[in-house]
């Protein structure tokens, strides 16, 4: 496979990445939904007053731990995290794509975007 990396090929790969990411995220959310509704379907919802999520559902580590422990809300949140990660993965892949094309300007541009995204996901805000 000595085909050169072109914009076209990057775009095809990015397209597949986005689609698969969304499908995987939707599948995990749907699985979590089943568990959530079976266990908590009869309880009343409580979104009228803002309390904020418990701290374990606010960051990556806590969400993964909750999902592994079989928590329904943790599992759904893991699916949502996968969804959020999809565009981030797309940006990360674009860094590699532009590097393979030898386009330094866009490697830099894409790295800036990736840095902003990782800053936000690490819990950063202004």
């Amino acid at each position: 496979m000595a085909r050169p990396w072109s914009d076209f090929r990057i775009e095809q790969t990015v397209g597949n990445l986005l689609r698969n990411g969304v499908i995987a995220a939707a599948a995990v959310v749907a699985a979590g939904a089943v568990v959530f509704l079976v266990r908590h379907g009869a309880e009343p919802p409580h979104y009228g007053m803002f309390r904020g999520e418990p701290s374990d559902l606010r960051h990556v580590g806590g969400i993964v731990a909750d999902a592994r422990a079989g928590s329904a809300r943790g599992l759904i949140q893991l699916g949502l995290l996968l969804l959020i990660a999809t565009p981030v993965a797309r940006v990360a892949f674009s860094v590699v794509g532009f590097a393979l094309e030898g386009d330094r300007v866009y490697v830099a541009v894409t790295l800036v975007v990736l840095a902003v995204l990782l800053f936000s996901l690490a819990g950063g805000h202004l």
């Binding site: 397209g15 969304v22 009343p44 007053m49 759904i76 969804l83 565009p87 674009s94 805000h125």
Partner: protein, 313 residues
């Protein structure tokens, strides 16, 4: 259309722990409160989101723009939970639609990536502001953006004539491209990059503040300011929306705005609706539908502004 008073629930879980001041949130809005359980609530929110996603994709206005008013006005959900759930649905539909458009060669990855610097930074500022501003202020700003979206969608999008001159910055950044047309590739040149960049930062800020894709502002920046042909600007903007929303999502997540139980039916509903909508779109006559949807958006806008000013949201 669901009447806003049709569904309600009692938001108070009395004696359930940390909330000190007790109940009354729902009563405050003065609508008939009826206790429903998670199963019914999930089904109703899911079905409404499905319709919103379907109409949003069919009209090109996006489903996210009606999700927040729908949740806040009809279901009595706190605005902060509503924008969190809406933002999640925006990422889902953007990534799903972008996957198709990118492959067709309409979107311009370079323009998208460069402008994402502006939109992601704007998004973090907007999402951080959302935590500081009162929900009433957010509701009013939301209403104003809705009015603008409705106005924009009621007019046909006119294709701007391709300009002969070129922005040197666009040349440096290798923005100029061509998109597939009926008579072979159609080249275009990009104008006024700095102004477009600034407007995109505003679009990102609104996206982060309101949990929407803010496609309307992106159209202003890319079509009117940068003079990008609308097939390219629409698909490129769609491509960028997911990345912009992901930047806000990190802030929302750490602030506890994203509730899995609420975001779940919204995400799955909007995703299913917009997927079906995109299939139907080919060959559908959407002029009347766009007008009707624009009218719905206008009504929601007035409700949001009114409720914001009267302090009910």
């Amino acid at each position: 259309m669901r009447s806003p008073a049709a569904v309600g629930y009692d938001g108070a879980r009395v004696g359930q722990g940390s909330c000190g001041k007790g109940d009354g949130t729902w009563a405050r809005s003065g609508r008939g409160a009826r206790r429903v359980n998670n199963l019914v609530f999930t089904a109703l929110v899911g079905a409404s989101s499905l319709v919103a996603g379907f109409l949003g994709s069919l009209t090109g206005l996006g489903g996210g723009v009606v999700i927040v008013p729908l949740l806040a006005l009809a279901f009595g959900v706190d605005v902060r939970y509503a924008i969190g759930a809406s933002l999640i649905s925006v990422i889902a539909t953007s990534s799903g639609a972008a996957a198709a458009f990118v492959k067709e060669g309409f979107s311009n990855i370079r323009i998208g990536m460069f402008l994402e610097i502006a939109t992601t930074l704007g998004a973090i500022v907007g999402a951080s502001l959302a935590a500081v501003l009162s929900t009433s202020v957010i509701a009013v700003v939301f209403g104003l953006v809705l009015v603008y979206s409705a106005f924009l969608s009621s007019r046909p999008r006119d294709e701007v004539a391709p300009a002969a001159a070129q922005d040197p910055l666009a040349a440096l950044l290798r923005f100029d491209g061509a998109f597939p047309g009926p008579a072979g590739p159609r080249p275009y040149k990009v104008q006024r990059v700095p102004a477009g960049f600034g407007l995109m930062a505003v679009a990102g800020g609104l996206s982060g503040l309101l949990g929407i894709g803010s496609g309307a502002v992106k159209v202003l920046a890319m079509d009117h300011t940068m003079r990008i042909p609308f097939k390219v600007s629409t698909t490129t903007s769609n491509f960028m929306i997911g990345v912009t929303a992901a930047a806000s999502a990190g802030v929302y997540l750490s602030r506890g705005y994203i509730d899995p139980g609420l975001a779940m039916p919204v995400m799955l509903g909007v995703l299913a609706g917009s997927t079906v909508g995109a299939r139907v779109l080919v060959g559908a006559r959407t002029v009347v539908l766009r007008r009707v949807f624009a009218l719905v958006i206008l009504v929601l806008a007035v409700e949001m502004i009114y409720n914001g000013f009267s302090g009910r949201l």
